[in-house]
Symmetry: C2
Subunit: 380 residues, 2 copies
């Protein structure tokens, strides 16, 4: 079934929170193909983003394990787990010649059996079984004596390169979400208990699991020699407003059934305001911003921020403002006032500010990296 592939250059997968301009590139390549049902998106957002491989030029290829990350502790974790892995993949699989596709190697049933507990035989109730990567049930139910589940979820992403008129797999990224707290019930529908897991423990266990996952992937068709990146994600607790972070990554190359040396990733997310007892310039800046915002309306506004640190350096900030509005003029004027006060916020780093009412988002302002201007939008 010969069809034409239109290799439309440019369009992209966006890394993390992205904001920018869309430019249509008209670089199109028409050519014959032996299995031309995969095409890519077209619009170039920036060279930081991946283009996406699509089916039939119009359908997104969902993963056979679609939706697995919905089972994480929070939406914050889900987003951080996925977009973080895309970010880390840019080093081994650069965006200029690699295209993105959702993982096609591990399906839902497989993912479910891998994150279960190890057991001699399949247990349909607990998804424990011979393929389980978590420790076997030791029969204990107390937080400090039971064997906790370390692995919370597996995420697979595929990276592709052009190969003549087709696309071939150039790399696979695997994210392993690890529990810093394992939530469990002693009896079905019972109260929820917690087993806290130390960083040392879930890191050691995560590295062990990584090798096992790589060994299993190497047995899949066509995976003999494809580079695999594995990254370890520390899932944040259920009551945390910040999503988790990746803390280590490693490559498996040349068909190795294990990963090579691990690289540490020193990322951290801090929610403002907080009472952690530490003082920092960012904290003072944020408090000043918050106080000036809160004096604007007779009714109080809620102002919180998530600050993202890389190697102890503030690298971006997302601010959420929630207040009650009595009309469109108030929203407009308030957004205006916030724009005035952005001078109180740290300079140069990317910042996203959303203004919300009970009706949902009303306005947002954002500043990209390496710019001094805030872009804004007020929703109709």
């Amino acid at each position: 079934m010969n069809k034409k592939i239109i290799a439309l250059l440019g369009a992209c997968l966006i890394l993390l929170s992205a904001c920018g301009n869309v430019t249509n590139t008209n670089t199109e390549t028409n050519s014959d193909s032996s299995k031309g049902t995969e095409k890519v998106t077209k619009t170039q957002l920036s060279k930081d983003y991946y283009r996406v491989v699509m089916k039939n030029d119009k359908e997104y290829q969902t993963s056979p394990s679609r939706g697995v990350s919905l089972s994480l502790n929070s939406g914050y974790n889900m987003k951080a787990f996925e977009s973080g892995l895309i970010g880390l993949s840019q080093t081994p699989f650069p965006t200029d010649n690699n295209y993105f596709r959702e993982g096609q190697l591990i399906d839902s049933a497989t993912a479910k059996s891998w994150i279960g507990r190890k057991a001699e035989v399949e247990d349909p109730n607990s998804s424990a079984g011979p393929n389980g990567l978590n420790p076997p049930d030791n029969g204990q139910i107390e937080p400090d004596t039971r064997a906790p589940r370390y692995l919370a979820q597996i995420l697979e992403q595929n990276y592709m390169v052009k190969d003549g008129d087709n696309y071939k797999l150039s790399g696979v990224s695997i994210g392993l979400a690890l529990n810093s707290v394992d939530y469990y019930q002693k009896v079905l529908y019972g109260a929820e208990f917690q087993t806290p897991i130390s960083r040392a423990d879930f890191e050691a266990k995560g590295k062990e699991i990584a090798n096992e996952v790589v060994a299993r992937l190497r047995k899949k068709d066509g995976m003999g020699n494809v580079p695999i990146m594995v990254a370890l994600f520390e899932q944040s607790a259920k009551d945390t407003l910040a999503g988790g972070v990746y803390f280590a990554s490693a490559m498996s190359e040349n068909g190795s059934t294990t990963v090579g040396e691990w690289s540490a990733i020193n990322d951290q997310k801090i929610i403002f305001p907080n009472n952690d007892g530490k003082s920092s310039e960012e904290k003072t800046n944020f408090d000043n911003f918050k106080n000036s915002i809160q004096s604007f309306f007779p009714n109080l506004s809620g102002v919180t921020a998530e600050a993202y640190y890389q190697n102890n350096q503030l690298s971006k900030m997302a601010i959420k403002i929630t207040t009650q509005f009595y009309g469109e003029s108030e929203i407009i004027s308030f957004t205006q006032f916030i724009a005035d006060k952005t001078s109180l916020l740290p300079a140069t780093i990317p910042i996203e500010i959303t203004v919300n009412s009970m009706e949902g988002i009303e306005a947002f302002l954002s500043r990209d990296a390496n710019t001094t201007e805030f872009k804004y939008h007020i929703f109709d």
Copy 2:
């Protein structure tokens, strides 16, 4: 109590749905003032926007009738009622020397009594009374025999100019929201009935009410000679997804107690897709866009648009896409795909596209007037 006024030029009130860049202007004027408690916002968004007069350099001056427009048929009407009046005010009270303030002349109790029915004595239950601008109750309860309420709401906005070191009132804008359908109950807590009102009827009645409102405002302190603009707003029905539009405006100048000649405003809002039997290029464009978007995911996406026409010419479009997402990569790729398909939409006019899930807004794309580029943002 002498204080300094910092007349910070630039900042603004945003007209309608606004999107753009924020530039700080550093033009500050420090000077003494005899009653310097009013200052203005600082950041310049564009010369299309009003700067806002604030109390004590940090508090928004809410109107004593704050929240009145919340009683309109829908949030769509509320936003259109307010932002439409700001837009119309730009002709008599230009943004380059006028500042915006929420209306301070008509308080809540007054607004409530004016939109009540005319009656000999105050009726605390129905807000009927001697000041009511709607026809007296004729005792009938059937849709076609009762006297409908024409006036649904009154909105006041103040425009100010610098006067030495202070600000003085330079103009007042009044919006009158008129019912095309009057909703009522025959008995308290009973079923809702409707009296439809013809355009000719609510237009004639609206013009009559406009003169009465102007006459009443002229009696207020300091209002002897201030120009007053009155604009008539047709409120859309409760089941309509589009907000209403202004259809006429007139000025009262030189202290006149009536308005001068009325100018017709030919605005229209149309929701796509629709089955109104008419075909248009915009409709075909939108259908093509909608169909290509809906093929992207295995699950269906809802795609609707509000098209805004001025003098039968499409002048802007707001598109709302709602779909279920199973992860961050899907949102990113989908936004990317939409960017590709914007080439199917009408060129040159401003367009706003929001992408929503059950969790709220996930991404948006927008194009300003006179630009070819779409800006985009994906929310973290």
